[in-house]
Symmetry: C2
Subunit: 580 residues, 2 copies
């Protein structure tokens, strides 16, 4: 703010000039003392001016004793996981009370590199939701796959001075940090030089490895799974996030580790939330409500989702209901049993009411981020799978998470050595087809637990390199599904007996769409129903999300990249056929 | 840190390289979880590398179960009040466990302007104590007196980008902030532009005035006097400091307002601590110990004096015992009943033991900060006091503070109208002589309660403009005392019957000396004794500190500046003689 705008606030605080808006009779959540107080809250030029000393306002809203809460800050999320463009994401999460997000465009940058960063910055610049973008630190996520881009220290240096870039996104390469790898350190140094944040990603890392990770200046983690792990990370100086995503849900696991004494070091985040989760359950407010319902003091929970994130990311202009803070506010009837926003304000403007967006975000035409489909010589023949043995390694799906089992099975092979699908066994073929650089790479493997009886499902969302991944019992449907995605620039599609059963187009990088939330969820709901009823996919798993994580070589135990079957535990490639 | 030094820490944390020092068998104060844990703490290159994973160290210290605490951070102090140069101040406070100070060179800058700022930066640059300097926001403190310099936005802009300048020092001109005065706003804007801190000074300011003050972006206050005031300021988003200075002591007053829930918004500071207070009682550790003895949880108190201050001033490299933080550490036998440091470490080097400094700070020759004594035409005649009435206004000293009463008395006057001292009345003459610009200004007034029977006491410490202030029963001794200070460039001196009873020379700006702490306290102790025994000064007051605050026109109720008698309550000059 400049002195003129601050002078106006000072004048307004003391009743010398009129405010724009007053919210009367509110029970204000004071996240600094962690208590509630009754007040009229005055707003001028999008900022909170003050309380009792202000005299008049052009507009008045009677809170009638409802709670007035600072807007929620999502401390870490990937907008891409919503399948929505930033503008549609804004429309989707604001009604949930989220007014600021610290987003990591890790997915789109893994597909489109700096074009993705530029698009995300531009598309999120003039929308109601306040979006900060951490620069992705791990593009590619690992050297064991082909991503669409490689972003190193030079690229980081180009972008990290942007005031909307608070630092480096989640550093997943914890072996690289532990070994003080040169490329990793060069990336980190760009943040050191500017005293900017570095987000962490350190699942199950404790003890000396965690000391090394913390010594690298990484100050947050959202991958804790136990209260003990949370406690250890807090001790080492990190801010720990309670994550409540669609697949990864840690709030209830971690809650026993949160005390009033350490709560100032704890934040909330959503990480990856699917569109249906946002529509049905909410966004940050869902995690906050879950924590409150399970015994966390409401004011402590609210402080974690507001003030603490503002402190962690140096956002000194928000996070509390106090003079000179942004009037990013939530009005809610109750805070003692969860928080359902009735009205949401951003910079003093009412942007949502009763769960519906009012201030729709302006749309930005995606440029240079079309779904890259540089697939070389794809044909059905690329899906060939000849294990070399009847005894094979199998990726075992474990419902409720993204970790897989490293299983084995006995199969049948044809005279040509090709795997033969057996109806009485729940084993299917999985293939990953490289789509960024025309390498012609395609790799196949076997997977168990998906449940599908007949047909194929394919998607261009395949963490973290987002090549095309396809699952099926027959090569014809699989090939058609892959070809469909190539032709439309990415998305999710299903085929059975040569017939297209449903397609969800994701024309932005093969990850996101410009369609509005309602259409996206309608399409996905229909496709889920079809997947279950017509393809027979296991009800215990999400047919599409499960598939998305089968190519992620940083999560145990057995995964498939475009380069082959990968044993995460030994961090090396392996064979399908087991040599006896 | 650069990537090479971080890589070394990462290596050390995991035992790949040897550390410099290990402190074994410590009970480490974890200020993030607010609990104690047992560990060996390894240090490399002045930073904490880690705990169990480190293998060996060149040097080993056995803590034998003692507590290992992060070094204390004084969130606000004026080094000048110690009478010591920065190097001697370092030697004085480090044994108390203070390892970082946020100092405001408000006093020396009021005398010497930017030369004072430059000297303080230079003199504190290469000493063991880590010194940050807020740029003084109020030079002069008020327009009702002559200070040695005027520092405005242009001067702030020259210095505020220095990484050792975290922002603007205490904004005492709260009426100027409340009215959004142009000069004040121009100063504040220099901090806004750079997102730097602005310290506050808002005694008894609450309600709408406080909203306006907070709206100005002022984020700390160390002038709270009641738990209610603390609570209100925390609610408005400010960090509140528990101050324990020599004259102003707020820890016990404010403690009832500190709860576990709001403690993350509370810091400790010393503001003004005299050398004897440091020697006898300690520094930040004194306030911390007082709070603990009076019921504050030890870990909460420690977090307030370490982590909270680090967060408030964006000092991300300190404030906790964790990897990659500076090894600024205190070893102490006990934390449950106050904290007495046995050893103090700064950047991993043992700098004090058993209350004695080991790492003496290198001395910096003061340049351009000699005690400015540009006094025009001083003579005894300047001390003339002709009230114009027998009924006069009298400055009433109130022991135990710096506030005075606005009293009245009946006096005797000679034929020439001159005030005549009466032995049976405890009324003395007070004079302030301008010393910065040769204006020739001198003003006199009457003061009651000092107790001195005969003689004169003068000092060049006279907050905040630091002109010469002198008190006495006769003009001869008063004139000699003033002349003495002019001749030596400032200090404190006492005369009786033409004889010099003692002088404490303060050759740096008339405020500080290059002498070591022991000599300063010895000299002051002797002078205190003389003042009491030979001059008969009231035992209930400090003879010198009391005098220092009689020219401070921002503290009620009646004060004397070089421009005349000042009624602080009406914020205007007044007459000595009362017109009936």
């Amino acid at each position: 703010m400049n002195k003129e705008s601050v002078s106006r606030l000072i004048d307004a605080a003391q009743g010398r000039i009129q405010c724009d808006l007053v919210i009367r009779n509110a029970q204000v959540a004071d996240v600094c003392n962690k208590e509630v107080f009754k007040a009229d809250v005055y707003i001028l030029d999008g900022m909170i001016a003050g309380f009792d000393g202000c005299r008049k306002a052009k507009e008045e809203i009677d809170a009638a004793g409802r709670y007035l809460i600072p807007g929620f800050i999502d401390a870490h999320c990937h907008i891409e996981s919503s399948h929505l463009s930033p503008s549609e994401f804004s429309d989707a999460v604001i009604p949930c009370g989220t007014t600021t997000v610290i987003a990591d465009p890790h997915e789109i940058c893994n597909v489109t590199g700096l074009d993705g960063m530029s698009y995300m910055l531009k598309a999120s610049e003039n929308i109601p939701l306040s979006v900060f973008l951490m620069f992705p630190s791990c593009v590619p996520a690992t050297p064991f796959e082909h991503s669409g881009a490689i972003l190193n220290a030079e690229e980081i240096a180009e972008y990290i001075d942007n005031p909307r870039v608070p630092g480096l996104g989640e550093m997943m390469n914890y072996p690289g940090v532990a070994s003080a790898d040169g490329t990793v350190m060069a990336k980190l140094e760009e943040a050191y030089k500017r005293n900017k944040n570095i987000d962490g990603h350190a699942p199950s890392i404790t003890g000396p490895a965690l000391d090394g990770y913390a010594a690298a200046g990484i100050t947050t983690d959202h991958e804790c799974e136990t209260p003990e792990e949370l406690h250890d990370k807090v001790r080492k100086g990190m801010y720990v996030m309670l994550r409540e995503g669609t697949a990864c849900k840690n709030v209830l696991q971690l809650l026993p580790g949160v005390t009033e004494k350490n709560s100032s070091r704890i934040l909330f985040c959503t990480d990856d939330r699917q569109p249906q989760s946002i529509v049905r359950d909410g966004h940050v407010n869902y995690g906050v409500s879950l924590a409150i319902k399970n015994g966390l003091e409401p004011l402590t929970a609210i402080a974690m989702a507001t003030l603490n994130a503002a402190i962690c990311y140096h956002l000194s202009d928000r996070g509390m209901v106090a003079p000179r803070k942004r009037a990013d506010l939530i009005l809610a009837k109750d805070i003692t049993n969860g928080i359902t926003p009735e009205m949401v304000f951003i910079k003093g403007r009412k942007v949502a009411e009763e769960g519906r967006i009012i201030a729709k975000a302006p749309h930005t035409t995606p440029e240079h981020v079309s779904g890259r489909m540089d697939v070389k010589d794809f044909s059905k023949a690329k899906l060939s799978l000849k294990p070399g043995s009847d005894h094979v390694r199998v990726i075992d799906i474990i419902p409720g998470g993204v970790v897989t089992g490293n299983g084995d099975a006995w199969i049948r092979r044809g005279d040509d050595g090709e795997w033969i699908h057996e109806n009485d066994k729940d084993i299917l073929k999985l293939a990953v087809i490289e789509r960024h650089h025309g390498t012609g790479n395609a790799a196949t493997a076997l997977i168990r637990g998906y449940g599908m009886k007949h047909g194929a499902v394919a998607t261009s969302i395949a963490h973290d390199s987002h090549n095309i991944i396809v699952i099926g019992d027959n090569d014809d449907d699989m090939a058609r599904a892959v070809e469909k995605l190539i032709s439309i620039g990415g998305g999710i599609t299903m085929f059975k007996d040569g017939r297209e059963l449903g397609t969800h187009r994701l024309e932005i990088a093969g990850l996101m769409t410009d369609l509005p939330l309602a259409e996206v969820t309608k399409c996905l709901d229909d496709m889920h129903e079809t997947a279950e009823k017509e393809l027979g996919v296991n009800k215990a798993i999400d047919p599409f999300m499960t598939l998305c994580f089968m190519a992620l070589p940083v999560i145990p135990s057995l995964k498939l990249t475009d380069c082959g079957l990968f044993d995460v535990d030994s961090f090396s490639f392996t064979e399908i056929g087991i040599k006896e």
